[in-house]
Amino acid sequence: DTAVSQTPKYLVTQMGNDKSIKCEQNLGHDTMYWYKQDSKKFLKIMFSYNNKELIINETVPNRFSPKSPDKAHLNLHINSLELGDSAVYFCASSGGLAGGVTQYFGPGTRLTVL
């Protein structure tokens, strides 16, 4: 039973392309997040949604657009991909009556931009 799932796990694409990463959680959490982990393993929060409402929007290029169709899903769309976008992207969830305070992570999506 996968708690937080992401697809795809690996994504290789050319500069300038548009791509999406999907995230789903079956934990009943009401908050979902996107993080970017760079080559030095530093985790940087990008976005946070609570019950489909954008709560945290860090300084991220507007080429990145999150979309939350319902509170179990938070997708990340990236336009005009650049070399610097290469990283591992993690989706996570927490909160609500079911989840409490702990944050649970998806397996990550390794994005490589050529």
């Binding site: 530093f42 929060i45 946070s48 709560i55 945290i56 996570a92 927490s94 305070v101 944050q103 397996p107």
Partner: protein, 117 residues
């Protein structure tokens, strides 16, 4: 914003020995949560242990325990009887209890732990 500092980028330990990873944080809040996450080479982020700031007792999970010093704003992780499978990047994290923070977590920069056979 709260900051979380892990001053040891790399640590190593002999198999079966004990190692302590350091974490300090900065906050003006009196109640909050602290976590240690483990990221092995598989890159999956795994919760190791959690501590509620209002609890004086240090959290323990099998071979993993913390030394929580609230006044010093210190939250170290002790791994006893280290095993090869403990080799990973370890992240310390802070979460506020305040509702207006959007359940945001603040992560340290990580400590890479090597276990020597």
């Amino acid at each position: 914003a709260q900051t979380v500092t892990q001053s040891q980028p790399e640590m190593s330990v002999q198999e079966a020995e004990t190692v302590t990873l350091s974490c300090t944080y900065d906050t003006s809040e009196s109640d909050y949560y602290l976590f240690w996450y483990k990221q092995p080479p598989s890159r999956q982020m795994i919760l190791v242990i959690r501590q509620e700031a209002y609890k004086q007792q240090n959290a323990t999970e099998n071979r993993f325990s913390v030394n929580f010093q609230k006044a010093a704003k210190s939250f170290s992780l002790k791994i006893s009887d280290s095993q090869l499978g403990d080799a990973a990047m370890y992240f310390c994290a802070y979460r506020s209890v305040l509702l207006n923070t959007g359940n945001q977590f603040y992560f340290g920069t990580g400590t890479s732990l090597t276990v020597i056979p």
